[in-house]
Symmetry: C2
Subunit: 142 residues, 2 copies
């Protein structure tokens, strides 16, 4: 199979495959015309890469999985190096999710505070005899 077919079967592009080869991740054999040739095993490697990429793994993080498969192991994660990557990624995800959740709460708090301040100003402006409006209130009044 040549590069176009492999790309199509994996749902990616030829540019991506050439990039992987340049990175040493998915080397290709060549036919007599200098065209890259791949087999079903390469498709398996490629699918492993793409799956991990979809999970947010860096390309370099997929390397242990690919090498594990190429070494003849039944799965990309049949090797200790792959398990280490899994654990490292889990730690990263936990840290990131924690940070994002904290930011989310902070932003939500800021939004509530800002909305209360806005409503307080709007209420004040409606009180007869209350303080006269200072400025245009950011478009709220019209």
């Amino acid at each position: 199979m040549r590069i176009g077919e492999l790309a199509a079967r994996a749902g990616t592009t030829t540019r991506t495959l050439r990039y992987y080869e340049a990175r040493g991740l998915l080397p290709a054999r060549r036919d007599d015309k200098g065209h890259r040739t791949y087999d079903e095993g390469d498709l398996r490697l490629l699918r492993q890469i793409r799956t991990l990429q979809d999970f947010g793994f860096d390309l370099e993080e997929t390397r242990p999985f690919v090498e594990c498969l190429r070494a003849g192991h039944p799965e990309g994660d049949s090797c200790p190096a792959s398990l280490l990557v899994y654990r490292r990624k889990l730690d990263e995800l936990d840290a990131l999710i924690g940070q994002l959740t904290a930011v989310r709460e902070t932003v939500a708090g800021q939004l509530r505070r800002a909305e209360r301040a806005r409503d307080a100003l709007a209420a004040e402006a409606l009180v007869p005899g209350g303080p006269e409006p200072v400025c245009e209130l950011g478009g709220l009044t019209r």
Copy 2:
């Protein structure tokens, strides 16, 4: 105050300030020597920008807050446009956290599965009269 002092007081760099000016976010007055000059108000604007940046807001997303402050409002989020950015960011964060959490669970499941497979293989290898080891088990055996 000149650019170096403002940068130091905001805990950032002169390069960053020049970048903000180039983006039209934080324009500077000039003194007779062509040097940028800033006042305390600019420091306030800059701190608003940096706070939002720390939360993961894009530079463009900080613009409504900066313009709100520059329009004389008491806070950067005293304007409706800023509240919209807050809400959009909350939605983004929720979506992102949801995706990351799903990925986290998937990866955790993969890790558990791979560890079970590894342990099963190791146990098999220890059974007297069991199947002979196929290969080197990815470094587990030594």
